[in-house]
Each structure stands twice: as structure tokens, then as C-alpha cells.
Symmetry: none
Subunit: 200 residues, 4 copies
DNA sequence: TATGAATGAGGGTTCATTCAT
DNA sequence: AATGAATGAACCCTCATTCAT
């Protein structure tokens, strides 16, 4: 599935052959059919797997932070560091949406992924607003904005061969802080700052 | 090419056959090869054609307006009204980016499309800033933000079967006005308002 | 379909490949799919075709004769002369019955073939009984006997590589005449004989 | 081999896979290759086995009876009761004849089966004729007639999904008694009758 | 300009068979 | 004696493309 994800994310479903995948994985073509029902089945499993990993990543992200500013900052950093797998994920979700016969379990997992993404952001924003750190924004709406924009960045990186994802993310990040009414200072410094404030 | 665009935009390149296109167009398969070199050639031509139409649309948009607020407002409305062809365009540009062998002329036309899109927005923003209507934002950066977010919206509409493009665009629009430091009032009313100010 | 019948009647469905058929017919493999939906489709069409020819043969047989003795005699001779195509027909009907997914139109045509075979014989026998030429046998039952035995002969010719179909048919024929209470004399002589009787 | 016979007799050789057989037998695919050389080898063994059982059945039949009428009557009853395995046997012999590479030992066993079948009938008929119970028929010829007709009945039962083997066998039986010049009375009654005659 | 027929190449899939354990 | 994993060869079928007309 790793090899498959790799290939499916740089070419489209149709142009990736089972032979490609098999030889990239160093196994016989038939062996793929020993583990997967069909090419579509492999694609579905690969997609599910990729989403599962992304969800896992989000889960760990959530566990790492109690502070909303830290979490949002980490969310952005995370996307810079994991831009490759995330791009891959967006790519195969896009491919899944065209052509592929709908598979309920895959539909579910995709929905779960986006719900979770929004939930993480919205949750943090809500807490930030409650704590008085952020402006009184609508948490879900704000989360959707960031999440959608992120997909836009990914798409751009597909279409433009020399697109600078890092720069685009940095841009989005600073804009987002601004939107939340929070100075776009590094997370750590910020936290210290707030602690200082708490002391008073 | 109309039929081809239609098909290429709902399925992926691989799963659309020349026969599909031919029979949808009501002609014989071989006739397509009378007009186009190959399937890739047809795809390229279709893409060029779609981009050309989009550029044409932008040209007319520019011609329609001298006022930056009007133009930007129209740009958003335009995207609501033409969301179908725009979605199609984004879809085939995405498909082009994966798999398809690079074709210089297509690459150029895609670049021109995005440059033009940014130029239209950036130009208006610049003028608005000069006129003192907008905040002192960085015009190109602001234009990129809107343009990228728009692609994000399109992607979402692929991935989520019941995505509300209109609502997302309305959201983006109001946010954008806010970002520009301009009340998100209807364009017309706004224009009148400004004229009043000009009179003084 | 001729080539296909040839091959399907000496090997079984599974061991005849489309390539075999194509190369035996001197055409490209893909061309077969231009005319037939699938291998099964070709098999079905071939079977239908073979049955249609057999029915046609029976129709001509019926038209040739008004005299019951002549018709029955010709029926036997016919089977000797056409033993090859008849064997082929029985073979593919057998193959159709195992494995092949039922196809209504094929089922129908097979039924029609056997009904017609029995009808031809039974009709003649009935007329012969009415004319007082034959014993008072049950026409349908007698027809079924001959028809079933004939299939037995065909089967034997598959199983035993050196089976003498002609001898077996001759045997059946003479037995059948005996069963009908009619001297197994050559048809012509017989007819003359009867004419003589009619004169009196 | 039991499972294999079962499967080979309802589908054709090509469409029965080793996996089918293995899973029907509740064992691993590879285990079949521990006991048999190849799929063909398994088929051959299965066929031999089935023939051996049929021969065994005939042997017991012969041992059960000294009286020709009893034996022939039992032969018919036997075919009614064992119509399923006999059908299976005919089916795989037919399949063997098409496609399968000839295997001498299998050819032999098939020949032995038919020889034995004819021998049993012919022997009884001969004795019956000698005893004056039957008409002066040619024993071998009569035996062949019955044996061949029986195969015809089996074939019919393959081709026609709702064929009544029992009825067809009853028909053949009564006809056969008639042919032998022997009233088609139940075997038991008949035997008693004859004993009475013997007494005088 | 338009088509029906034909083809070569290749792709997904299956399956008998083997291997390591 | 038994199995899960692995493979090579082949088969059905599709499809972009071309040819003859």
C-alpha cells in the first residue's frame, strides 16, 4: 500500500498499472491479488490506510497540546513537515472522487478525516475564544476557512510544478493568526508571554 | 471539445475512452482522429480551449469595470454563476498535472490563466489601495490568497458530493472584503456611496 | 462462428481460447469482440446458429416428403450423412448445459430443436398409424425413443474414439422399423410396394 | 476424489479450479498436490475411481443373481437408484473425451466399464435365450442397444434441466422386455411364476 | 468529411503449481 | 501431513489507433 500510494499520488489511477505497483514493490503481480480483491480494492485500501495515518497523526497532535495556540501552531508546522503525505492524501481523494465507484467505507473515512480536521481546529479556536486569547470568531467557520485554503494550497502544488508549499503555508498561518486576533509570534514565546500575563 | 471537456471533467483521463467521446458527440471514432492527432492531443486542445474561454471571460470582466470594488464583486459573482465550467477547468488542469506528458503550449496557457487571474485581482486591489478605499494590503499576496482559496473550494466540491459552492464563495467574499478593510456591502450601493464621497 | 463451432466441438469451452478461434479464422483477436460481446456470447451465438441450421435442415426434410415412411427413412439417412454437424451440435449443447450461465434465448432454441425433432418423427408416425402402415404405437413415445437413442449414439461416438456411428444408426433404424411393425426395406422399394397395394 | 467428482460432474474441467476442490474438501490447495501430481492427475484418478466403483457395483449385481430376468430387472432398478453417480460418471467420461490428453490407463478403464456393462446384459440375455425365456435375439446387439439408450437418457438429463430419468428408464425397461419377448411383469412375481413352471 | 472494420499492444485478473516452513 | 505465501504463464478483454472506402 505504501508503494501504491506513492504511485497513485504522482500518476492517476488509470495510468498506474498493477505491474508498476508489483515491480515497484518487488513482488509478483499475482501476489497483489492474493492480498487485494482488485486494483480498485487496492486503491480503496490504500486510501483508507492513508486517511487512517492522517487521523492518527491528528490524534497525536491533539494529545500533545492542551494550549490552543500551541496546537494551531503545531497544526501548521505539521503540515509543512508532512506536506508530502498530505499532498498524496489529497491527490488520491481527488482521484477517488472522479471515476471510482463509490465505496461506502471509503466515503465514511474521508468524511471522518475532514470532520476531524475541522474539529481539531474548531475546538482549539473555541477554547481560545473562551480564554479570551482570540477574537470572537465563529470557530467552525474559521476552521473551515483554514482547512479549505489548505486544500487550495495542495491543489496549487499539483498544478504548478514549482509551487512553494512552505511559503504558502506560512502566509496562511500569519493570516490566520491575524484573523484570530492573535499576534503571529512563535508559539513558545507566545506561551511564555501568556504565562506572564497569567501571573499578574 | 465541448463533449470531451464534459467527460474529462467528470471522469479521469484514463477512464474516458475515445469511443465515449465519439458516441457522446454523435460521430464515428475515426473522425476524431481526423481532427485531432491523438487522445492526448484532444485533451490538450480541450484544455487550451477551456482556458481560452476562461481568459476571455476575464477579459470581458476587466472591460466591464473601471471601479475596483465593482470588479472584485463581479469576480466573485462570476465564479458563482460559472462555477460549473470553472470546476471543469480546475479538474482537467489537475488531471493534466498528473500523468499527462508535459506539453509546453499547455503549460504556458495554464500559467497565463493563473497569472491573469492574479493580475486582475491584484490590479483592482492596487487601485483600491491607491484610491484609499482598501487597507494597505500587499496586492499580489491578497490576490493569491483569494485565488488559492478558490481552488480549495473547487477541490472541496470534488471531494464532498454535497458541497455548497455558493455558500463557500459567499464566505470567502465577505472575508475578503473584511481583509481589504471594505464593508461587504452590495457592489451597487457601494459604488453610489463612493460617488457621493467623490462629489464632496 | 463456423470456426468456433469447429473448435468448441472438439475441445471444451474452457480449453478453447479466443486466440485459437481468432487465429483459426485468420483474424485479430480484438475483431471477435467487435462482433461478439464476450467469449460466452460467441459460444451462445455459435450454438444458436448451429441449432438454427439443424432446424432448417429439418424444415427442408419435412418439405421433401409427404410419405411417412419416406420421411423417417430420410431422417435416418440424414443423420448418417450429417453425423458430423449433428455430433458437433450435441457436443456444444452438452457443454452449454454444464457451467455456462443460462441464457434464455439459447435455452429456448435448444428446446425448440428437440421439440421439432420429436414433432417431425411423431407426426410421421401418427400419419403412418392412421394410414394403417404402422402398428398402433404411441407416436410421441416412439419419437422420443428414437431421438433419445440417437443422442446415446452421439455420446458413444465421443467416448469411444473408434465408434461406428453408421453401424449404430443402421441398427437403430432397423429396430425402429421393426418397432413400427414395418418391414425395414429400402424406402423406394417400399413406396413402390405401397403404390401397388393402393392400386388394388 | 469424492469432492472432485462432485464438482467435475456439475461443471466442466476448465471451470473447476483446484481452489474450488480444495476449499470444498476443507483442505489447503497445496495439499492436493501432495496426493496428486496435477489437476489432470486428480481428474484421471477421480475418473478411475468412479469407474472402479461402477464396476464394483456391477460385480455385486452379478453375484446377487443367477436368474437372467432378475438380473436384468435389477440392472434397470439399479440405474434408477444410482442415477446420480451414473450421471456423474457419464459426465466425466464425456469431459475426458474432449480436451483431456489421452491417458492409457484411463482409456482402458473406460473400455472395461462398457465391456463389462455389455457383458452383464449380454450374458443374461444369452442365458435367457438358452433357457427359452427370451426370444432369439442377438445377445450382444441387444445389450448394446440398452446400454447406448441408457447413455442417451443420461445426456438428455444433462441437456434438459427437468428431464425425468425415472420415467425414461421405465420406458426403456418395458420396451426392452418387449424386445426380449418377455412380459414386463415385476421381477419377483415373474420369478415365482417361473418357479411354478419349473415345478411342472 | 465520414465511417465500419480491423489491429497491436497492453492491462487486469486467474490459476495451476511450487516453495518454505 | 499440512499450510500460507509466492510465482509464471496465460487468458479475456479493452482501447487507441489505423485502414479502406
Amino acid at each position: 500500500m505504501g508503494v501504491a500510494l506513492e504511485l497513485f499520488s504522482i500518476r492517476d489511477f488509470g495510468s498506474v498499472t498493477i505491474k508498476d505497483i508489483a515491480s515497484a514493490a518487488g513482488v509478483n503481480t499475482a501476489l497483489i491479488y492474493y492480498y487485494f480483491d482488485s486494483k480498485e480494492g487496492l486503491f480503496g485500501a490504500t486510501l483508507e490506510n492513508a486517511v487512517a495515518q492522517a487521523l492518527d497523526n491528528y490524534r497525536r497532535l491533539k494529545e500533545r497540546h492542551s494550549d490552543p495556540v500551541d496546537l494551531i501552531a503545531d497544526w501548521f508546522d505539521n503540515h509543512v513537515q508532512l506536506s508530502r503525505p498530505i499532498r498524496q492524501l489529497v491527490k488520491i481523494m481527488l482521484d477517488y472522487s472522479s471515476t471510482r465507484t463509490q465505496i461506502d467505507v471509503v466515503d465514511d473515512v474521508i468524511k471522518r478525516f475532514y470532520d476531524e480536521e475541522v474539529e481539531i481546529l474548531a475546538g482549539s479556536i473555541r477554547r481560545g475564544v473562551q480564554l479570551g486569547i482570540f477574537r470572537e470568531v465563529h470557530p467552525e467557520r474559521a476552521a473551515h476557512l483554514a482547512s479549505t485554503h489548505l486544500d487550495g494550497i495542495m491543489v496549487r502544488s499539483f498544478i504548478h510544478r514549482d509551487y512553494d508549499i512552505g511559503a504558502a503555508l506560512a502566509e496562511l498561518k500569519s493570516l490566520f493568526w491575524e484573523y484570530l486576533g492573535h499576534a503571529a509570534v512563535p508559539a513558545e514565546m507566545n506561551r511564555n508571554l501568556r504565562r506572564l500575563q497569567d501571573v499578574r
